[in-house]
Symmetry: C2
Amino acid sequence: MFVQISPLTEALPAFLSQHTYSSIVVLVDGNTKRHCYPHVKNLLPKHKLITIRAGEANKNLAVCETIWQAMTDAQLDRHALLINLGGGVIGDMGGFCAATYKRGIDFVQLPTTLLAQVDASVGGKLGIDFHGFKNHIGVFNYPAAVLIDTVFLSTLPERELRSGFAEVIKHCLIADAAQWKTIRRRDLGDQNWPELVNHSVEVKKKIVEQDPTEKGIRKILNFGHTLGHALETHLLANPARRLFHGEAVAAGMIMEASIAYRKKMIESSVLEQIEEYIFSIYGRVKLTDADLEPVLELTLQDKKNRNGQVRMALLNGLGSCQYDIAVTKTEMRQALEFYLE
Amino acid sequence: MFVQISPLTEALPAFLSQHTYSSIVVLVDGNTKRHCYPHVKNLLPKHKLITIRAGEANKNLAVCETIWQAMTDAQLDRHALLINLGGGVIGDMGGFCAATYKRGIDFVQLPTTLLAQVDASVGGKLGIDFHGFKNHIGVFNYPAAVLIDTVFLSTLPERELRSGFAEVIKHCLIADAAQWKTIRRRDLGDQNWPELVNHSVEVKKKIVEQDPTEKGIRKILNFGHTLGHALETHLLANPARRLFHGEAVAAGMIMEASIAYRKKMIESSVLEQIEEYIFSIYGRVKLTDADLEPVLELTLQDKKNRNGQVRMALLNGLGSCQYDIAVTKTEMRQALEFYLE
């Protein structure tokens, strides 16, 4: 896995000088076309641009079809390169389109959001949402390179930055108690982003390299995601209540930490500091009793389940996590109720 | 690559006894549901059936969507198994759906046509047609097993058998001159199918194992396919003229052999015996001058091209083949004209 954190002005020309491509296409959305593409445009030889609409709602098969069609119209052969310039949607969907076009062409991830830099771009998970299920259709495949430039973080709205920060928190909680102590002393605005991006990428890379296709240890990266994903999916249908991915994961981490506490895997003090810090950054997602059952139902589609039984990654201490832990519907309901109180 | 040629009554229970799956789904089309599923049904534990319409015209994204939806409705988790019971369409598309469902579940190929037994089921190429382009969207991925039972060949219409025979001919021409001598002494009805299936699978397996993702030597398996695919795609739009895959490849082998002859890679006697035998089995596809330009245009989308230039696999002797040979549009036009005369 080739991940480089450095200014694109150096990294991109260096990468291209080491590879030969028959043609180059850049995938952007409305936002990255305006804010990020100007940083990249002059670093590239002759290329084409494919523009899609921004937002998770567009991470679907219909948009894949327009991307595949644009690649076909550009007569891309198997030796072409697709550059994905954007957040998780662009990276996941663009990567999936590249990995399936003519059974796979090279692609490079240029993640522009904090979430994509610390999470989505590292680890080879590609895919799209399908009829309401997140990342339901996809493949594992590695980009030719992930080139991360933290200069893009300054283009982000605060809500976007806050969303990405949830994965930073997660990486600390599952793998590095010392780093957790550092970040929780600071508010969102006072974090050292280049350092945190570096740290998060290292944590994730180390885990992924041990278990690329998530048969074992990689599952700990799903901490907060079983209930987080279900919550995110549930609220997707209602534009006014829709959450950013990290906002849902932040809520999911509180819920799943409460399950770990009930199972006596963590102390009450650990649960309390997680709860306190996450609420201080994210506030509390407004949920009612009516939301509980649909969220619980959605956990049945979680990719980590086995024989219809939900399996979670749960903390067993600060900076430590266990995976494949069977969790009952009752335990999940209690976790949602804990969060609601 | 696990390929076994033996009665399914032994092979399928043996395979299942060595694996643990959370659930099993069988993908069939109208034909294989009627003719082949009865042979398989009682060899399986409790399972579900997904039925799609038969035919290459259904190897598309819309049908994938219905398969993914059926898999979702059945609440398949990552530990489920999809069994593809059918010809190339079922194997390629079912394999693609399995390889992309929740980023990949296990699948088993039970090829029921000669074409699928000697070609499609071996080698990990999965995918679908896209807006008129054959196998345009797909991935490389290996089934948990390919279980081949030649009993199914007796259920095939003659035209289907003849189509599959083209790949048998191809395997002889590119890799085994002695076997070519054997088959060309016999008409279609006199061939020893179990022996030929064995031989073809061995030839293909040996080549694919050297080069799974077709960076090099595997390209020789495309002999006859550059012009064959283009011809097949061109005639797809017109139901009355539509060809079976092998019929198109058979014509493509004559055309591409004529290019090899013009490039002094084979003797005239080799071209003549190929031409004579293939015409004796397949007759001549009716083409007019008006078909030439569209077929030539379609070769530009061939997956083996580089920088817009067509690259072919061409015979350089009986039982021997070279790949990545640049071929001009003029040479291809001459090949089509040679075939027409």
